[in-house]
């Protein structure tokens, strides 16, 4: 009999433990007190390289300068994983104090009411105005929602054309004259295609296709208009110009047969380029380090070939501060952002990762200029920013991205024509965005 009771008691004890465990998980155990302010900082890494180490270094430097603030950097996977983790943390009532997320998420973030507008911090800082004006306009452009500053540019990139100079020579092309127009792109690609390699490569997997497509759409736009309206409430997918752009992709695969058929993955494309299986690729400047290090041939970079105009899409992640945290935490988070986006830190960050420094003063710094003279291919990315525009972003950005990607894929695989595919994308995106248009 006694034995039985012992068992019951020990079972009950186990249960209590279990309940305690669950209960603890729910509680916000961040306490405000006399000790240092502790900040939780979520950040993604979307390119290879030592980005995590650099982040840790920035944090260490910051803490040395600000002993009353402690920053806990949490590596949260790629951009998608990071957004999912932010969402989960917010739902659980414990949002990270600050985080890096795609610039394109700003409408969604603002709509969800989970991020703090930063204007009052900027105004309160003595050098706030100069600080913001130092950011390159093509990057700062996608930090605003309804006139409010929502985020601060940090790990930013753009898309450039990488090309294999050796294969250019082999095909009888001038290696110092990369294609500058769609017509030249087609012509060069034809010359560069043979049994061993394709002329040109584009990544068309979901999450990449919409980025490249943004570039082609801008290049073909009559008035320089983007795929979406500035307020993120409308998209313009099924225009004749965009249909032409998509048709070009289909033709590169099927008519001219100068591009690998089907859907090449974003991460496979640089590998194929390095293996000399494709002579020119459209890829992020974030891959500059990788290609520079591993190419066993001479490579060049160039502006994306234009059509009606020269253009390229920008991309990458910005800093955000959460709304549902104490003012003390917000101020500490702002202090950290100012530190991480200081001229010196941004220069250091760019030199170590290959991202473009988003501030003019970093670009002009001696270290950066020295880097550019050593690797002139990296300078192209910066110079191209002049004609670069933000990538596709809207409210419910993830859904609208997916819609465009699905439709592009249906055209590429021949399930639909370019016109049908974009018409469908337009209808589906309109249905998603409808609830924002009334406001």
């Amino acid at each position: 009999m006694h034995k039985n009771w012992k068992k019951v008691i020990s079972s009950l004890f186990t249960l209590m433990l279990a309940i305690l465990l669950v209960a603890c998980g729910n509680k916000n155990d961040k306490k405000e007190g006399d000790g240092p302010v502790e900040l939780e900082f979520f950040y993604p890494v979307n390119v290879g390289g030592p980005a995590t180490k650099v982040i840790d270094q920035i944090v260490a430097d910051f803490e040395a300068e600000n002993p009353d603030i402690k920053v806990n950097p949490v590596y949260t996977g790629n951009y998608d994983d990071t957004f999912t983790k932010i969402q989960t943390a917010v739902q659980g009532g414990t949002p990270p104090d600050l985080f890096i997320s795609l610039a394109t998420h700003r409408f969604t973030m603002e709509d969800l009411g989970i991020v703090e507008p930063l204007d009052h911090f900027i105004e309160a800082d003595k050098d706030g105005k100069e600080y913001i004006e130092d950011f390159l306009p093509s990057f700062m452009e996608d930090s605003y929602v309804d006139g409010k500053t929502i985020s601060i540019p940090f790990q930013r990139s753009t898309m450039v054309l990488y090309y294999n100079k050796d294969l250019f020579k082999e095909a009888g092309l001038d290696p110092e004259q990369p294609p500058t127009s769609w017509d030249e792109l087609i012509e060069y690609s034809k010359k560069l295609t043979n049994d061993d390699h394709f002329g040109v490569g584009l990544a068309l997997n979901s999450g990449s296709a919409q980025w490249s497509f943004g570039g082609f759409s801008l290049q073909n736009s009559k008035d320089g208009g983007n795929l979406m309206s500035d307020d993120g409430k409308k998209v313009f997918f099924d225009t004749p110009e965009n249909i032409e752009a998509l048709q070009l992709w289909i033709d590169l695969q099927n008519k001219y047969e100068v591009m690998n058929k089907g859907i090449v993955q974003w991460t496979d494309l640089p590998t194929q380029f390095l293996a000399q299986e494709v002579a020119m690729i459209y890829h992020t400047t974030g891959n500059m380090g990788n290609i520079n290090e591993n190419a066993e041939f001479e490579f060049g970079t160039a502006f994306l070939p234009g059509n009606k105009r020269m253009a390229a899409p920008t991309g990458g992640g910005n800093f955000y501060i959460s709304k549902d945290i104490s003012d003390q935490h917000k101020e500490a988070a702002w202090k950290f952002i100012r530190f991480a986006t200081s001229t010196e830190q941004l220069t250091n960050w760019s030199l170590n990762t290959g991202y473009i420094p988003p501030r003019q003063s970093s670009i002009d710094s001696d270290e950066m200029q020295k880097y550019y003279s050593e690797i002139p291919q990296a300078r192209v990315a910066y110079e191209q920013l002049e004609v670069a525009k933000p990538e596709l972003t809207t409210y419910d950005a993830a859904q609208v991205w997916r819609i465009l990607n699905d439709s592009i894929q249906s055209a590429i695989t021949g399930e639909k024509t370019a016109a049908e595919a974009l018409k469908e994308a337009q209808a589906n995106a309109d249905a998603v965005l409808e609830r924002y248009q009334g406001e």
Binding site: L12, T14, Q87, Q91, L112, N205
Partner: protein, 288 residues
Amino acid sequence: MKNNLTAWGLMLPALSFILLFTVFPIIRSIYLSVMDFRFGMAEPRFIGLGNYVRLFHSDLFWKVMGNTLFFALITLVPALLIGLGLALIVNKKSKITGTLRTIYFYPVILPMVAAASIWMFIYMANNGLWDQIARFIHMGPTDVLSRQESVLPALAVMYVWKEAGYVMIFFLSGLQSISPDILESARLDGATGWKLFRHILFPLLGPTFLFISTVELTNVFKLVDHIIIMTEGAPNNASTMLLYYIYQTGFTHFDYGLSSALTVILLVMLLVVALPRFIAQDKKTYYN
């Protein structure tokens, strides 16, 4: 009375976990499935069957259901046949039986994420093993993962490779639980080879068949890792299956109401699959 109390006490730990992690989520899913609830909304709003109506009118939903059922069909039968075949091979006693069993079972213990990564290299367009072979025999490149018609069969081949060993284990235990007396009397009556299999082994494996079909079918419905790794549903959702769609709706598009409705649909499908097994159990269709 005291006995009752003891029983409850003993059950409490397990029960509390079931309540917390199985029963509560099911009830919560059903509740949310009749609500309009997205990330950022303060309160869910009741919309009755609105989410279900939206799904039934959505082409994508039907495409996803079609994909899921098609995938179940093209994996279940081959996995059962190959698993049974392997079990028959390793049921015989010989020197290499142990080694063979290990080899056949090996893919099962591999995490799906690892298996998917390996197969992604095999299927990689142009440079992958598959396309190298295809090119060698002048059939390719086939580029299987980015074609509408080949992406699901390609994923199915990988899945069958991974699952056949698992199925084998169940058939093996089924085969080994058949009493030697029966086999001996069958042999005395002159039944060998195919006859023995067709008239003795096969019927006796009936319950195993039913069990393993149920398990396999539910496993297929619960698959998601390989899609995240290998295709992300591409091209144009040709490889999007139910659980991936639920994940996408809930965690990428933040539409909790809709993804709860999808979850309830998945739950119903799993129940339907499990039902024959429960009925059979009640009837006790056991031969031994």
